[in-house]
Symmetry: C2
Subunit: 206 residues, 2 copies
């Protein structure tokens, strides 16, 4: 157990870091604690990560990848655009509910940090958006949606979903509101917002 320590320790550090971040949350997260947990000196972390931010950033990338894999699975298992869209929403919500802390990690990085990292690193993260953009484009092609800018629409979709889960996970929901109910209704609203708008835009009949 000492040959290719190279990648070995790096992975162990990442795992300890993730566990700590998930169990103690962001506040109780420290490099030294990670090192302690891994049974290694604090400065060793700096051999594999430029600094604390970079370690966390790596964690974020991992989580984004896992989320994207789920989305890809949905994309591959469904063909109807509307079904896919709903599938995306559910996969997204489920990931957030199953891994709340990790989900929050993804959205943790503040803008000032982001700029310090190479922006290309987020290209991989955008894969999820591509699935979504494709789906919307397909829906437009099939005359199901009427979106002039599918990419913008894709970001709108994610943003709304993120808002919903953000509110849920940060426990800002009114206690009188049932969480499950809230999520379902929100998804329903979001999906509905994408349905043909031209016909309804004015005063609806009935």
């Amino acid at each position: 157990m000492s040959r290719n320590n190279n990648q070995d320790l790096r992975d162990k550090l990442l795992q300890s870091a993730r566990e700590l971040l998930v169990s103690k949350g962001y506040r109780g997260f420290s490099l030294r604690q990670v090192a302690r947990e891994t049974g290694v000196s604090a400065t060793s972390v700096y051999i594999y990560f430029e600094n604390k931010d970079h370690l966390i950033h790596t964690l974020i990338e991992q989580s984004i990848s896992e989320l994207n894999e789920r989305l890809e699975k949905v994309y591959g298992s469904l063909t109807d655009p509307e079904e896919r869209l709903k599938g995306f929403a559910e996969a997204y919500v489920n990931y957030a509910l199953e891994h709340p802390r990790e989900y929050q990690i993804i959205y943790l990085a503040s803008p000032e940090d982001m700029t310090r990292y190479p922006k290309e690193k987020f290209r991989k993260a955008r894969r999820g958006y591509e699935f979504l953009t494709d789906t919307i484009k397909e829906a437009v092609r099939q005359d199901i949606f009427d979106e002039p800018y599918p990419r913008t629409a894709a970001y709108t979709f994610w943003a709304q979903l993120h808002g919903v889960m953000s509110v849920v996970l940060s426990k800002r929901l009114d206690t009188r509101i049932d969480q499950q109910e809230f999520i379902e209704q929100a998804i329903s609203h979001i999906l509905h917002g994408f349905q043909m708008r031209t016909a309804l835009q004015q005063k609806p009949n009935i």
Copy 2:
């Protein structure tokens, strides 16, 4: 300038804290720095605030109040439910754009902190939701919307808006997407999601 220092210094601390948080962001924010800036010893802060979290929390409350005031203004100046809803959205977005750091402060508090504070403190924060809930109820009364749970719908509305602004402010938007365009389209989608749904909602089950 030394009589009722009581409230005086407290306010000065809050002001310094806000300036620091806005200029340096959350990372570069420290109690000691706040004290230094105010020209007072670090421990003085503990006379007026239980700890760092409580200080920040007070800042949050202030920002929420300011935001709520804007919403109240909208509520008072418009009567048509749909107009009001749109007005709320715009006021919300404008506040976020004009005071990005302060907006982010509002949504900074992580769930683990929240529980440490008396939940009632957020009652005042809920005023905004009440304006919105009222508006939706009124829309339902006028047969414009068809929302079985106006309160839930209100939270859905906020959540979606928050998601949109969160994405914008954390600079996660694809560089190819115009920010202004994105916001407008998102608002349009969100509002549309509230328009009459009965005719379209074929599959109500998740």
